[in-house]
Symmetry: C3
Subunit: 352 residues, 3 copies
């Protein structure tokens, strides 16, 4: 049984996963009886728009029932230690709460953001793994402390669509390579070529988690694209996610020849200096030259612009770039339904 | 495709709509497979009881999936201007948020009340039309800044039931007029007669939108009833909704001969003096003679009493009037399920 | 029609109810078309985790649609008196709100806790009975002011499973008593023996309702177990729930020979002194000798430990006792789905 979906390796062969994504996108109700009498419990410790809607939609595509639980962090504090006299504000212990939640469902999705104060706690994915250990049910991440795999999978689907717009099954069934080689798609100068994908830091007024850039790096490296990360010094992502990526502190050099620009802010991951974990290293007013504008895009190979949303215009990206025909932010969001449908389908199939 | 449901004309022929309402009421699950694999997204920018429940019920009558999104206005502020550096409290731009919401559903319902400070913004139905323009999906009003068409349609169904209690299809199929002409129903002194319907302002301690009276006026005029509006001077409704109605400032004169009294408070629509938009023009203690009580009802033709709910007793209406057998407030609420089912059915059928 | 589920007698023959519970547990989707086009409305005036999830799951097991309404007590205050001028913070009267809610569903579940200030109001189950009277639909308690029957039914199912682990239908069908008499199950020294079940008060820092102990007592007495209640003087439960039970103020004596220990805190029920209703009679620091620990459990007949959850460790029970293999807290919670499925099934069947 597929017990957890946190990292790219939990999905196995990516080519196969992308083929399934294409199959679902062609008919998102193809498996609409697979989830009959199966219930998804979505547990939100934090706010959500895209994940809330797209994951519900995905579950309903598969004929599942859905229960949404918004855990108000203030009202429902969980004790995590043993040996404590619980006479304070925590009214339930996770050792009871999690197995109980597992009783009433078949699959559990967890949204639980990084606290950004205790690096070790966050990077151990403590809350997520407690659900895996104590719920007795398959668990998947709907953005946890350090990863957002449904977003990264949707981003990969989006890049793949741009690179190979033909349905994979048709393309593979065809003996005629002409269509492909003659198409002006990204990264297809030759059949063996791969697109250049650049993950760029951009300024933001608030301290944000590293979940999206961590997962994006992990998935791009697994997919084998030409992957570059660019950010100001001090914002180095954890090597467990970026091992094998090129790090380029000069944003302009990083952008040169890029086919895809993926912009995102993140706070200091605390790799070089753990004391800085979760901090904003420079006032954002001094970092506005990192904002992706038309000039930045002019350095690229007519790159597509990507962002996971929500995005602050004028900080991360300018209006003209995000509104241009080369912007993929809405297709990325739309593919969240597809990535979630594939992951839930996999989990359901593994339960049979 | 039926892309929007905001005004009475969006529904086309009212006789046909009423016939469909009767069909649904006779068997509200008649079309329970029409919505298979279609998802309704209900977006609430404001609180709701009747609309929340009745619209969900309507969608489920049709076999649709439903996702409810309560937008906490404080937590999720949308930027609406271009060219802004979003470094404040607004974390997402509507130009992204609305298309994203459109990705995960097939139909969108919007509740977004008037702010009651900027008349032009409210009466342009800015938020609603942004959803129509940017979501890419059919949109319907679940009370917006200036209209509440699902309520007005339910009110019309209720009046029609009182006037012609026989199912329309039977009545039309019958050659026997005796049953009808011998029935003591409202407004049926002769076959060609129409009921007299009076919309009356009533006092309230808070400043309320004009959405309900606007739509009620619009729908009554379209239905061709004998329609009178009565209110203190200064509360004139926007003529785009009341054109063709008689305005009578003397409440007693208005009530004379009435078959239906529809009570409702509204704040100043700002028609004669835009500076007064959204204001309460007189302390309500001075306006209590407008409260609909037994004496008021004695001026009428044994009229039925109507209100959209929630209603403040003792302000809008007295206990005895709202509890009398002539009170239609619960049947009106019950017909909210019917009006919403008809509208969603129409939207779904237009998508085939 | 089964119009209300509040007390144990509303379920009729308990042996039959337990047989149905076993049938559902063996196949919880056996009646998955019974609820087609039937809608459950769950109305929460208070927070909920187990009830929210398990009751939704139960309804979905039966193929029902579910609408969840969280009534924010602050935002939606209901007027309950007649003859009032509603110019304050209450914007709707229950005489309208309840029939309206009844319009949009087929069955209503109510969660409405005791206020713990007005004993008469709480013990009259005022809010619950208003729903029964005015909604026009079958109503069931999801913990009300004085009872929590879905919990008590789940507790009874759990005790029965421990006492008679064989499915009842098989056991009754068999003529061979050997299997049963040779099994080392609780309370089965002989075929006619019954388990000893002890409800024990335990300390808690906050003032809690009596709903869970009231219902537990009522159901245990109806089931005919050997039932003992133990608590400090002054915490006597209302005799309408405990009539026929032994009350033992010496906790150690009560525990002797017990097969099941059910721990729970409750505030003063105000039986002997109405002025103390809802109060905590002693600072909890002075009552910690009532906490169920290993020594307490050593007084018993190797009893199973039970609690309805959420539980405060170190106050009600120690870590070692709740984590021991003899702890039934998770099976009890799991049986909430079963008790709710049986009750909803009964209600649906009574509507045919």
């Amino acid at each position: 049984m597929m017990k957890s979906f946190l990292n790219v390796e939990d999905l196995g062969d990516l080519k196969q996963a992308l083929a399934e994504a294409r199959e679902i996108k062609a008919n998102r109700y193809k498996y609409d009886t697979l989830g009959k009498n199966k219930t998804l419990l979505m547990v939100f410790f934090n706010n959500s728009l895209r994940t809330r809607l797209s994951t519900q939609k995905a579950a309903m595509n598969l004929g599942m029932n859905v229960i949404v639980l918004d855990v108000n962090a203030g009202a429902w504090k969980l004790e995590t230690e043993r040996g404590v006299i619980m006479d304070g504000d925590k009214s339930e212990h996770l050792l009871e709460a999690i197995p109980v939640m597992g009783c009433y469902c078949d699959v559990i999705g967890i949204r639980s953001f990084a606290g950004l104060t205790d690096r070790e706690y966050d990077y151990a994915e403590t809350v997520y793994h407690q659900f895996v250990q104590y719920s007795g049910k398959p668990v998947f991440a709907m953005e946890t402390a350090t990863v957002h795999p449904l977003q990264a999978f949707a981003d990969l689907i989006t890049i793949e669509e741009q690179t190979h717009p033909q349905p994979l099954l048709c393309r593979e069934g065809s003996q005629d390579a002409t269509t492909i080689s003659s198409s002006p798609h990204k990264g297809e100068a030759g059949r063996g070529s791969v697109p250049k994908v650049v993950l760029t830091w951009a300024p933001h007024p608030k301290s944000l988690p590293q979940a999206v850039p961590n997962s994006f790096a992990q998935w791009m490296l697994a997919a084998g694209v030409d992957f570059v990360v660019t950010h100001p010094e001090g914002y180095e992502l954890d090597p467990r996610f970026t091992k094998g990526a090129r790090i380029e502190y000069d944003q302009r050099k990083a952008f040169e020849g890029a086919d895809f620009i993926y912009a995102k802010n993140w706070s200091c991951p605390g790799v070089t200096n753990p004391d800085n974990y979760g901090k904003i290293l420079h006032d954002y007013h001094q970092m506005m030259h990192w904002t992706v504008d038309a000039e930045h895009m002019s350095w690229t190979n007519n790159a597509k612009f990507m962002h996971c949303l929500p995005v602050r215009r004028g900080m991360i990206v300018t209006d003209d770039v995000i509104e241009a025909p080369t912007s993929l932010v809405i297709p990325e969001a739309a593919n969240r339904e597809i990535s979630a449908t594939v992951v839930l389908k996999r989990i359901l199939q593994s339960m049979k």
